[in-house]
């Protein structure tokens, strides 16, 4: 008890150094846990981009390519899925629902997705959360559009806004569908998924845009006005991909094989969760490197502590000799220094967790809105607890060295106060 009080007074006497050491440990802990948490959250939110969809069907290319263009609107499909195939899939006894996806147009850089109203019903993200409307309604008319949260926010659109879609997916497009403007009827709540960046229109609307087009270009001398288009057959001849929900999840592999081996059209089906995982694994190296760097920062912080303790030891040699003369045992001197490293590591870890929590709290709105992440730090995961324990353990381990030196000094110095 006595020695503890003295240790506290002694540490307080060296508080500037101690505070700096604690801060450096705290920063490294915040970085280490932050990286770990963002890494897990990013993977989680990535894996949560799409759920409740059993299969995605597209033209035969590669699973990751299909996932990229159908879900993330990145890259281009090699071919389409014919309307006949879509209808066959929809009528298949194992299929509960089939939502067609039609891509290829954009609005000021944001991709346009042509789909059916069922999309809003069946698309799920996170743990099966459905899409929700922040305002308005889903599309009903041919020229209605529903905006993702981010589209509306970035472009400052509200309901009733008239927008002109552009052909192609580049940010700057030379061909605009300015003859058939759309009207914003609804805006979705933020999800943290690519849905936020998408302009949703009906499949019929998508078809109407291109009704006077052939082979990727407007037919010269042939114009169909918006009102005229309404009365025409707006069933498309093909779609980009189809999302399927099966009657039973157990049939998913069987269904996948069945689609992959179809002879009438070269199609492939992927399990979105599995392919998302594959895609994430490709980024694992970067993820690991990030973690390694933050672990190194933690090592640096512990080295700072070690330096401070070892330097302090020289100044404290007379303090130790005095304590010895007063009756302190050599192991008490050892415990004094080791205990100090424990206190510094613990304080650093605690402050680091608080710091990260404060940061997460301060940035929660932004993270939720931008990335769809929730940085909930309490309770910590096993991995985080292990990282914290590892850091504190490392701190104590580092403290063994100065503690042992102090112990040696206590034995060797005797009552001499060496300067």
């Amino acid at each position: 008890m006595t020695v503890l009080k003295l240790a506290r007074a002694s540490l307080w006497n060296r508080r500037t150094t101690a505070v700096l050491v604690v801060c450096s440990i705290a920063l490294s802990v915040a970085l280490l846990l932050g990286v770990e948490r963002v890494r897990t959250e990013a993977r989680q939110s990535f894996a949560n981009t799409l759920s409740g969809v059993d299969l995605i069907v597209g033209a035969r290319s590669g699973p990751i390519n299909l996932l990229l263009y159908s879900v993330f609107r990145m890259g281009d499909p090699t071919a389409n899925v014919s309307w006949a195939s879509y209808e066959t899939l929809r009528e298949h006894p194992r299929v509960a629902w089939a939502v067609p996806l039609s891509l290829g147009d954009s609005h000021r850089g944001f991709p346009v997705l042509g789909t059916t109203a069922e999309y809003f019903e069946h698309y799920r993200y996170r743990q099966g959360e459905p899409l929700a409307l922040a305002s308005g309604r889903i599309f009903d008319d041919v020229f209605d559009a529903v905006l993702g949260a981010e589209v509306a926010r970035k472009l400052g659109y509200r309901e009733g806004q008239r927008i002109v879609l552009a052909h192609g997916t580049g940010a700057i497009s030379l061909t605009h569908h300015d003859d058939k403007p759309f009207r914003v009827v609804g805006i979705l709540a933020p999800t943290g998924t690519p849905v936020d960046n998408t302009v949703h229109i009906s499949l019929a609307g998508m078809e109407a845009l291109h009704i006077d087009w052939r082979g990727g270009a407007p037919l010269p001398g042939y114009r169909v006005g918006a009102e005229q288009a309404r009365d025409m057959n707006l069933t498309p001849s093909s779609v980009t991909a189809v999302m399927l929900g099966l009657t039973s999840r157990r049939a998913v592999f069987q269904m996948q094989r069945e689609i992959n081996t179809r002879r009438d059209e070269a199609l492939q089906a992927i399990l979105p969760g599995l392919t998302l995982q594959q895609l994430w694994d490709m980024m694992r190296v970067g993820e690991q490197a990030l973690l390694a760097v933050s672990a190194l920062v933690a090592v640096v912080a512990l080295t700072v502590m070690l330096t401070a303790l070892l330097t302090g030891l020289n100044e404290r040699r007379r303090e130790m000799a005095l304590l010895r003369a007063l009756g302190a045992r050599p192991w008490q001197i050892f415990a004094l220094v080791l205990g100090e490293s424990l206190v510094l590591s613990l304080a650093g870890a605690l402050l680091g967790v608080l710091l990260l929590q404060a940061l997460a709290w301060g940035a929660s709105g932004w993270l939720g809105g931008q990335l769809g992440m929730t940085l909930q730090l309490w309770p910590p995961t096993w991995r985080e607890a292990a990282l914290l324990a590892g850091l504190i353990g490392g701190g104590v381990l580092a403290g063994l060295w100065p503690a042992w030196r102090a112990y040696r000094n206590a034995l060797v110095d005797g009552m001499t106060i060496r300067m």
Partner: protein, 263 residues
């Protein structure tokens, strides 16, 4: 004599490591209970080593050390540490005080390490704080502002007096002073020694006062020269002169202030 001798050393030999020559080779050294002895020895004559042995911080390779009736040489290291806390008061040459404690807390330290000394302070003065204040007062540090001042703001002379008060807390049987006056001005030395002797007398504590300043010796009941009693074996290469003069010669050649306890 009813009380046991404050210190009795017989045939004590000590060296720092196995190849080193003996740093201490002491046939006999005795302090009666309450006796005040001046131990003269130039720097490097093994004073610090001798004090470490008496305090039980180091253990001799041969011989017996008995302090206040307790045979130190048959105690474990931990027991010796405990004994030191309970029965010894120690004053260093300088830097006696913990800079992060107040004057009062510095003086109270022995009572924190030893229940016995705390108890004795309470019996004598009612509380450890009262005894600390009394001792400080007798040593001329009564003013309240001195007690509250950070110890680093005290003069060296004041610091040494605080150290003396601390050494006397809780009635130790033996006070060891390791050149406590060497950092003081000449006119302050005599004053400090007078106070220290007087207070040891009042506390009926034996005092072993080590110094190389022979002018102080007259204030003690007895004076002992360490080179005279410490039979150091001469290094083989320099065996031509006698052991005592040899010891003195090597000690004088060491730089003043350096502790030549490790040859």
């Amino acid at each position: 004599m009813t009380a046991p001798a404050a210190l009795h050393m017989a045939d004590v030999r000590y060296r720092w490591h196995r190849r080193a020559p003996w740093a201490i080779n002491l046939p006999v050294l005795t302090l009666a209970a309450g006796e005040h002895v001046f131990l003269a020895g130039p720097s490097g004559s093994g004073k610090s080593t001798l004090l470490a042995l008496i305090a039980g911080i180091a253990a001799p390779q041969a011989g017996q050390i008995t302090v206040l009736g307790e045979r130190l040489t048959s105690l474990s290291g931990a027991r010796r540490d405990c004994f030191r806390a309970e029965h010894l008061g120690i004053i260093f040459q300088q830097f006696n005080l913990l800079p992060y404690l107040s004057v009062l807390d510095n003086v109270l330290l022995p009572c924190r390490f030893s229940r016995r000394r705390r108890q004795q302070a309470i019996e004598r003065d009612g509380s450890p704080e009262a005894q600390a204040t009394r001792l400080l007062g007798r040593l001329g540090l009564a003013a309240d502002d001195v007690l509250r001042r950070p110890v680093t703001a005290l003069s060296v002379g004041q610091q040494q007096r605080v150290a003396a008060a601390r050494a006397l807390m809780g009635a130790p049987g033996l006070v060891i002073a390791d050149e406590p006056t060497s950092a003081l001005d000449a006119d302050r030395r005599a004053e400090f020694v007078t106070l220290l002797v007087q207070e040891c007398q009042a506390a009926s504590a034996a005092l072993l006062f080590v110094s190389h300043d022979l002018s102080l010796a007259s204030r003690f009941q007895r004076s002992v020269s360490l080179p005279d009693i410490n039979a150091l074996s001469p290094p083989a290469a320099l065996a031509s002169s006698g052991p005592h003069t040899q010891g003195a010669a090597t000690e004088h050649s060491t730089l003043p202030g350096s502790h030549g306890s490790r040859p």
